[in-house]
Each structure stands twice: as C-alpha cells, then as structure tokens.
C-alpha cells in the first residue's frame, strides 16, 4: 500500500478570518513503516490524520492512498481514537466485530478474526466484558484490536495513549510495537509525547503550528526493542525537542 500526501492545505473558518491548520504539507509514507507525527497543540497533526482517514474530505492538495484520492472513510484505513470510543452498550467482542460488519467474510471467519485479535492485544478472557468494566488501558487495547481486525493496510492512531496513566502508557507502547512487528502494517501515530515518538517511530515528522507545517523529518535508526535510557534515545529526543523549539 502506498500513501502520498502532496501539498495538502486545510483552512478553517470564514474567508476573512481563516485559520490555516495545514500549509502545503507533503509526505511520502514508506510502506510498512511506523511514522509518528509530533508537535504542539495547533500544529495540525490530528487534522492531517483525519484527512488521511477520510473523516474530513474538504482540503486542497492530494492525499493519495494507492494512487486514488481519498474521498471518504475506508476499511483499508483503520483508526484508533484517543477516547477509545467503544460503544458502551456492546461487549469487547461485539465492539471489535463492528469493524467487520461490512467485510465480505463468512460469519465463522469473522468470529475467528475477532478471537485472534482479542488474543493479539492481550485481552483474552474479556470477550464479554462491557467497556465500563475495563480499565482505560484495556479499553484502548480493545480499540486497537477493532482498528486492526479488518486487516487494513494502514492504521491511524490519534494520540491513543493520551488518556491513560504513565505506567499504562509505557506498557501499551511496548504492546503496540510488538503488534506492529507481528502484523507488519503501516502505522501513522500522532502524539505530543516526544519519548513516545522516539520509542516507536521509524521516522518522526516534527510539525510546527500556526500555520501547520513540517519543520523537520527525523529518521530514527535505532534497532528495536529500544530502551528509553539509552544514549541514542536521548540524542534523538534532544534532536526532536530542538526541532520543536522546546527548552531542553
């Protein structure tokens, strides 16, 4: 699968007082890579993610998925929201199965896929739990399973670990990395957490706000699994923080 973002510009608001969320942003996403968009509030990273997912289709420029301009949502682009957005009235199993509602598979295959993905995210045994019975981390894992179960070529994650505590966040990052290595699908993750970016990414796209632009793209060459206390890790962190204009 290929994803090309070319000269994408997005403006909000009426003509006279428009806010430019994205200003001629271009990225070529490498198939199978783990790409992380990082930046302060207002830099347009979440906006870009929504454009890629197809939830928003009003923009200038081109976002091409496998050569076709994105005109709406698609099962080939999974998405994980920050607020897990599991339906509270459905069990974990039913929530994940929702993604397969429109898939062209026999029922038995769907059940199998759901079960596999529940195991993949480590929620075996919680198939019949309701979201309110799950911790934040578990709910987010279910959301990730829901994003993956339809086997999209691309998974988008919008600050998926922003709402959980630091300890859970670290665990979930490790989980996500394991899943990425196992499934081999392209992932684009948005975060404001620099450490998360360095931990997970092949490339980090540093964005600057008002208007939203790409400041730098940093290649992270470190082998996985990565350790947050490594010298290399710190070096990359510093590089990104500098690109963000943040004090070290």
């Amino acid at each position: 699968m290929t994803l090309a973002i070319r000269d994408v510009t997005k403006r909000f608001g009426p003509e006279e007082a428009a806010l430019t969320a994205l200003d001629r942003v271009s990225i070529n996403v490498v198939p199978g890579e783990f790409l992380v968009l990082v930046g302060a509030s207002g830099c347009g990273k979440s906006t870009l993610l929504r454009l890629i997912s197809g939830l928003d289709t009003d923009y200038d420029g081109d976002v091409l998925h496998d050569g076709a301009r994105i005109a709406g949502t698609s099962l080939s682009r999974g998405i994980v929201f920050q607020d897990h957005r599991l339906f509270p009235w459905a069990t974990v199993e039913q929530n994940i199965a929702l993604a397969l509602e429109n898939a062209d598979l026999p029922a038995a295959e769907k059940r199998k896929a759901v079960a596999e993905h529940i195991a993949l995210v480590g929620l075996a045994g919680f198939e019949h739990a309701f979201p309110h019975q799950l911790s934040g981390g578990m709910a987010q894992r279910a959301a990730i399973a829901r994003g993956l179960v339809a086997r999209p070529g691309l998974l988008l994650l919008d600050e998926p670990f922003g709402a959980v505590d630091a300890l859970t966040r670290a665990r979930l990052q490790t989980e996500l990395q394991r899943i990425w290595e196992q499934e081999g699908i392209t992932m684009i993750l948005v975060t404001h957490d620099v450490e998360e970016a360095v931990f997970l990414a092949d490339r980090v796209v540093v964005m600057s706000p008002r208007p939203g632009r790409i400041a730098r793209i940093v290649d992270i060459d470190a082998p996985r699994p990565r350790h947050r206390v490594d010298q290399d890790f710190s070096r990359y962190r510093a590089e990104i923080l500098t690109a963000l204009g943040a004090p070290l």
């Binding site: 709406g72 949502t73 607020d83 957005r85 339906f87 509270p88 929702l98 309701f130």
Partner: protein, 259 residues
C-alpha cells in the same frame, strides 16, 4: 428523617391504623344505615363478592380482552412513535417541519380525541386499539427523540470510520444508544396505555373488558365487583411498573452503576 429504630410491630400498627379505622367506619355505616344500603355494600359482602369474581370466568375474559388491547395498542403505538421520534431527533429538517405540529398535538388531552376517532374509526376493537396506540405514541416519540439526541456524535464518527450502512447504524448505534431514554418512555407508555384501555371501554361500544365490567357493575349496583375490578386495575398497573423496571435492568446491563 423517619426513625428507623422503632420496633417493626409499631410500624406495622401505624400503617394499619388508618385502613382499619376506615373499614370500621364503613362497616358501622353499613350496619346502622348511615350509608345508603342500595348503593353501599357492606365490607364483608364486598370481600365475598370479590372472591367470587376470582372464580367467575367472565371476569377473566374481560381482563384478557383488556390486556390484549393493551399489548396490541402498545406495540403499534411504540413502533410508530419510535420511528417518528428517531426521525425528529436525527434530522434537523424533519424536526423543524413536524416538531411544532407534533408538540401541539401532544398537548391535547388524549381523551379529547375520542369523539373524532369514533367518527373516523367506528366504535369497535379497531378504534379501541387505535386509541391505546395514540396514548402510547406521544411518550414514545418524545423519548425516542431525546434518546437519539443524547447519542454522542463521536460515535457517529466511529460508524463512518467503519462505513456502516443506515440499517447497521440503526441497529448497532442508534437503537442501543437511545435505549436508556426509550426505557423511560416505555415506563410511561405502559401506564398511559393501561389508562387508555380502561377509558376506551367507557366510550366505545360495549365489549368484554375491565372498563365495561365496571360500568355494568355500576348499573347493577354491584359495589363488590367494582372494588374487585379497581384492585385488579391497580395491581396490574403496579405490575407494569415492575415490568418496566425489570426491563431496564435487563437491557441496560452495560451501564456503569450510578455512584
């Protein structure tokens, strides 16, 4: 504010004091002729007569008919009410077009429609059931509209992300999402329907039913039957309340326990 530290016997006595007093007055009134004997039956007679009703096949037939009309009217009214309510809640245009008219119609007391309905639908079973359906329609419409509006729009995005069709959205998102409000509507509608069932018997043509039974009992000066039927009506009303509450627990299992 009420003391819970007193012995249960005392609480029982307090609760029984008034009913016992009223019963005694009634009995005395009946014995000493203070009350019109033709109209007022003695409490004992009411008791025996009432028990007699338990074994009278006619009274069970009447109850059956009433419950049947209740069920059918409730179903019809709910289906239409939920459909219209969903449309009102989901589509702004529909709401602007039909909302004011429906709200105005809602204000008209339900029994006011009876003479008109008797002209258009006659006075048979169809009219009775339609009347019950009308009584159910308004609360269900309101609760359905409220339920749809209460659904967090972020879930709609999830539906878009997974490309759910209209029907899938209805089944997986709208209906379960609106369920808490709908259950509230069901609770109200069950009672309204029951009132409409009884009332319908008074105004439409005579046919087996609790309301008809009561009117007949009144004509025949049978206070015992009247009291019995009234208690049945009250009991069934209570059962509907219970039913609704049970439904709530069953269908809304997924809700976190309110702290």
């Amino acid at each position: 504010m009420s003391a819970t530290s007193q012995p249960r016997a005392l609480t029982l006595a307090e609760g029984l004091a008034l009913p016992v007093l009223l019963l005694a007055l009634w009995d005395a009134g009946s014995r000493f002729g203070w009350l019109d004997g033709q109209v007022w039956a003695a409490p004992a007679a009411v008791l025996t007569g009432g028990i007699g009703q338990l074994f009278a096949p006619d009274s069970w037939t009447g109850l059956g008919y009433s419950l049947f009309r209740h069920a059918l009217g409730f179903l019809a009214g709910s289906l239409i009410g939920i459909g219209v309510g969903f449309a009102l809640g989901a589509s702004q245009r529909f709401g602007l077009l039909f909302g004011p008219t429906l709200n105005a119609a809602k204000q008209v007391a339900i029994f006011t429609w009876i003479p008109l309905m008797s002209i258009w639908l006659g006075t048979g079973e169809v009219a009775k059931i339609a009347f019950v359906a009308l009584a159910v329609f308004f609360p269900m419409m309101l609760s359905a509209a409220e339920g749809v509006r209460a659904i967090d729009p972020r879930y709609l995005e999830v539906a878009r992300a997974f490309r759910l069709t209209r029907w899938q959205r209805l089944r997986r998102l709208t209906l379960p999402g609106a369920m808490p409000a709908l259950i509230g509507g069901v609770q109200v509608a069950l009672i309204y329907a029951w009132l409409a069932v009884i009332g319908a018997d008074y105004f439409f043509e005579a046919a087996p039913g609790l309301g008809s039974q009561m009117l007949q009992a009144r004509d025949q000066f049978r206070m015992d039957i009247l009291v019995f039927d009234m208690l049945v009506i009250g009991l069934i009303g209570l059962l509907f309340l219970r039913l609704a509450r049970g439904l709530e627990t069953l269908v809304l299992r997924w809700r976190p326990r309110a702290v």
